[in-house]
Amino acid sequence: MPDLSINIAGIEMKNPLTVGSGTYGHHGNFNQFFPVETMGVLVPKTVRPIEWPGNPPRRVIEVPSGLHSSVGIPSISWEQFEAVDAPRLRDLPVPVIQSVIGRTEVEYAEVVARASALNAFQGLELNLSCPNLKQGGLDFGYDPDAAYKLVKRARQETDLPLVAKLAPDYSSLVSVAQAIEAAGADAVALVNAPRAMCIDIETLKPMIGNGVGALSGPAIKPMAVYMVWTLYRSISLPIFGMGGVANYKDVIEFMAAGAAAVAFGTVSYVDPMALPRALVDLETWLVEKGIDDVKSLIGAAHGSDFQRPAPLKEMKHAV
């Protein structure tokens, strides 16, 4: 059988499949359709240091091949997360990368330190790209200087591997990713859902309760593959690729573009068995192709002669 294992920043994954934060399970309930340990690593919904009800309804709108949404990361209190969710996550038979977000640099540092101290996680994902919050997230994900300072600060708060989740913005993607690498992040995850809008032609007003929302699902996949491909050529960090992934073919495509691991997101709302089915199909495909190690797919689209850039140690001002 082919070797499916992947190691990203010291996190041992038995296969390269994972889930996009906030798209799988809720409040510690992770086995509704298949055992959580089917995947290589679990990324649960983003937590924040404050309780928050989330954005007003309407929160979801179906669009062609995708979902327009603005949920706004509804959050239980940190005390409740620590008392109820964290022990459940700690006991899961799968490595966990906990996604975190703050409104300010100080709040990010605080949530990183607190999450790290729970001794429940194998890594932390810094959500620098939530499209649906008024403060935090994209304030840092679009600005290389802010991203650098934030990751540098977070780096001081934890020894856990840090994964920075990035926004799909052409103008800042490379410079932000280089800043994050220089600041000491261990990996990047991309793409988060791009900002989007639907307008009701009767009222001439935005349809989603928050006005502005996000676009996710298969509609964004080619854009996401391009951005993974771009970062593979721009930084040395391992990449968690995502954005519209629905089946094993998409997994192969993202890995060929440069992803070391691939996340299933919005598709799980529609087809909750997509991930375990893709795992079986991926293994079958590798056997049929005579490929004995899934790692050989990483970056294959760049050609065998291509060399990734050397690690960045200093902030590089690309803008």
């Binding site: 509704q32 989330g54 309804p57 979801v60 949920v71 529609v270």
Partner: protein, 264 residues
């Protein structure tokens, strides 16, 4: 709760703009409680992308088959009509959500439905009948032929009051019927689905009579099983409506107490 590919038994016109889909789904049918729903995926090459949530209209007496009544609006329902033929399979997830609470001591209940909302009530009428509880139905729709399920409610022996908006003037509304009957009958609970006006009327009456009232609610959904947090509505956390919060219709509902949803 599980995802299955259920064999389609039949898929035929019901009445008015409604069609009735029947599938073989023993595990889901056996576990289903009145008011719970199923989430159906019908998809052509390019969509629709999301599943479609439906209340379960009826479960067969041997609890192996379930029926979904659907109105022919939108691409998803037209695909349901055109592609779910006997011999094909239907991808569905269920049973989902929290259903109606039928108190053990209840003897007489009122079922109040409008339009497609009526489709959420026959399973409750069936459960009530099995416990010897009398249910009286108050049903309305825009047109007479769009009132579904009248024969199910009358079969159980309770009274059935009908109103359609296309009736000639001066005809009594179902809420007037409900108030009139409530002055003669001791209702132990009221169950509603279909319009905010009916929910308000049921809630007002229930508070006056000091009996429970519940309503099945709708909201646009993505997953239907609690993961996406997309289908929230604002609810009252206390009967006075002083504290409010968002609650997922797929998880906390679709059935809520009427005091939770009135003026929330």
């Amino acid at each position: 709760m599980e995802q299955i590919n259920a064999s389609v038994v039949s898929n035929e016109p019901l009445t008015g703009e409604y069609w009735l889909l029947q599938v073989d789904a023993p595990s889901i049918s056996a576990a289903l409680e009145p008011g719970q729903f199923v989430n159906i995926r019908v998809s052509g090459e390019h969509g629709p992308f999301l599943r479609r949530p439906f209340s379960v209209y009826r479960v067969s007496s041997d609890r192996t088959r379930l029926q979904v009544a659907y109105k022919l609006v939108g691409e998803g329902c037209r695909l349901m009509r055109d592609t779910l033929r006997p011999g094909t399979t239907c991808d569905l997830i269920g049973p989902l959500g929290t259903g109606y609470d039928l108190p053990a001591e209840a003897r007489t209940i009122a079922l109040v439905g409008r339009g497609i909302g009526i489709a959420a009530l026959p399973t409750l009428a069936d459960l009530a009948a099995s416990r010897g509880i009398t249910s009286h139905a108050f049903l309305s729709a825009r047109t007479r032929d769009n009132i579904v399920g009248t024969e199910i409610f009358s079969h159980h022996g309770g009274m059935v009051f009908l109103h359609s908006d296309d009736q000639p003037g001066g005809v009594t509304m179902v809420t007037d019927h409900l108030l009139a009957e409530a002055s003669k009958i001791d209702f132990d609970a009221i169950y509603v689905c279909g319009s905010n006006r009916l929910i308000r009327a049921a809630d007002t009456l229930a508070r006056k009579l000091n009996i429970p009232a519940q309503s099945a609610m709708e909201q646009h959904m993505a997953c239907g099983f609690g993961d996406c947090h997309g289908c929230v509505i604002e609810v009252n956390l206390d009967p006075a409506g002083e504290k409010k919060a968002y609650r997922e219709v797929c998880h906390y509902g679709p059935v809520f107490n009427t005091w939770e949803v009135v003026n929330a």
